[in-house]
Amino acid sequence: MSMHFTKDHEWISVEGDVGTIGITDYAQEQLGDVVFVELPEVGKTVAIGEEAGVVESVKAASEIYAPVSGEVVEVNQALADEPAKVNEAPEGAGWFVKIKLSDTSQLDALMDADAYKAYVASVS
């Protein structure tokens, strides 16, 4: 299993050809209290950088972008009743969608944990 990060503060954790996607701890901290999460339909195909959901904090709505292309195979239904899971466990129980990757080589363009940590330090 490997974990990759985007400059938009999403993470993707890949097992085989299925990636689990969420937002990073830094992102949830910046957003503040999450009150609503809009998730895509299972079966939808998304391209890199396309909207794969919307996360709403008290103050505003923010898009979640697909870090890779693929087909949505599962969404985290628990977030419908407990959107605050995104704040409590952004890189665990607060995941958003699972995507079957169409091209695993797209992961090469993403940051690893150390690179992301350095990136966050540079923008915050």
Binding site: D8, G32, D33, F36, E38, V58, K59, A80
Partner: protein, 378 residues
């Protein structure tokens, strides 16, 4: 992601260092660096205020004196600009009113206090919105008679202590303030600091607003925060509190296109003023009072959980009949709440409407406001 960069040309309130020390997340607001939230977050701050007492820095708002020869003269001058019954103010009483354009649109909303102290006869104390103070001051200077002068107050801070436990906290520092009823004010000393205290606020809760010399503001802030019932509250929770309380935010729910009648602020126009007029935009307001306005501000409750933000279109059937002007998540309600303008034919409570949220139709209904009952001290 939100942009938290605060540029160096932002103004700072006298309490700025306190906010930074408390890890307040500082954001630009109306030209000031202001805390949108502290570490606990907006929902916790909101609920704390409803259950305990929240302390807000509102020093960015404009405080000013209007000074004339006596109360009658100053009140008469202000009445040429606003529809509120100013002449009828008793000493120590506060009125909510609006500056109006000649077309009856709202330039700003404001609080007007007639000082209780007879030595201040001829003075009215005004509090206006931060984002509008320059516009308001220019408007007043251009329109007021030469015998009445505007004196902006630059050396005072303003803080609000709001919530059911505010009275108990205040009782330990200033007994005179506790005797005030809602929308009344007095001059008092709080732990030896001379200040102006009013029983008012913008959260729907009981509470106080305290105007204090800028150099004493930090000490007073620390005094309040030392109480176990008090937590600092940022602008984010101030916004959710006032939204649940059904209170207008200038630039969103009211502006120069909306009249007080459309905005459901008719209650703030005195009976005498409705009959006599003598304020800008009277023709429109008289007409809207007689015939009903073509649109009005209403509460809107989405059936689902998706918040409806400002700008969301309101439809009935295929027809667009209005627009959301403030909307989001109400922490005390536990779900989305909004307000907006809707054509009067569809403004009745419980009318089913459709909101277009990110291209998706979301069912909602017109709702009575406030969403959370007011708990003012009557």
């Amino acid at each position: 992601m939100t942009d938290d960069t605060s540029s160096s040309d932002l103004l700072k309130t006298p309490l700025h260092d306190r906010h930074v020390a408390l890890d307040g997340r500082m954001v630009p607001f109306a030209g000031y660096a202001m805390p949108v939230q502290y570490a606990r977050g907006i929902i916790a701050e909101h609920k704390w205020t409803r259950e305990n007492a929240g302390l807000f820095d509102v020093s960015h708002m404009g405080q000013a004196w209007l000074v004339g020869s006596d109360f009658a003269a100053t009140a008469a001058a202000l009445e040429t600009l606003v529809p509120g019954d100013i002449a009828g103010l008793k000493p120590g009483a506060i009125r909510y009113t609006q500056f109006l354009t000649d077309e009856g649109g709202i330039i700003d909303d404001l609080m007007v206090t007639r000082p209780a102290d007879p030595a201040l006869d001829g003075r009215l104390f005004l509090i206006v919105n931060a984002s509008r103070k320059d516009v308001d001051y220019a408007h007043m200077r251009a329109r007021l008679p030469g015998t009445v002068t505007l004196e902006p107050i630059e050396d005072r801070a303003l803080m609000a202590l709001q919530g059911p436990k505010a009275e108990g906290v205040m009782a330990r520092h200033c007994g005179a303030a506790v005797d005030l009823a809602f929308m009344a004010a007095c001059d008092a000393t709080l732990d030896g600091i001379p200040c102006h205290i009013s029983r008012s606020g913008y959260t729907g809760e009981d509470g106080f607003e305290i105007s204090v010399p800028a150099d004493k503001a930090g000490a007073m802030w620390d005094t309040f925060l030392a109480a176990s019932e008090v937590e600092p509250i940022g602008l984010g929770a101030r916004d959710t509190l006032r939204l649940e309380a059904g209170l207008c935010l200038y630039g969103h729910d009211i502006d120069e296109t909306t009249s007080p009648v459309e905005a459901a602020l008719t209650w703030s126009i005195g009976k005498r003023r409705r009959a006599e007029g003598g304020f800008p935009g009277y023709e429109r307001i008289r007409r809207e009072l007689a015939d009903g306005p073509s649109r009005r501000r209403v509460g809107v409750r989405p059936d689902g959980r998706a918040p409806a933000r400002e700008g969301t279109e309101i439809a009935v059937g295929d027809a667009t009949v209005g627009k959301i002007t403030s909307g989001g998540f109400g922490p005390s309600v536990g779900g989305p709440v909004a307000m907006g303008y809707i054509e009067t034919a569809h403004a009745a409570v419980d009318t089913e409407v459709v909101l277009t949220v990110r291209g998706r139709a979301e069912a909602a209904r017109v709702a009575a406001m406030p969403f959370v009952p007011h708990r003012y001290k009557r």
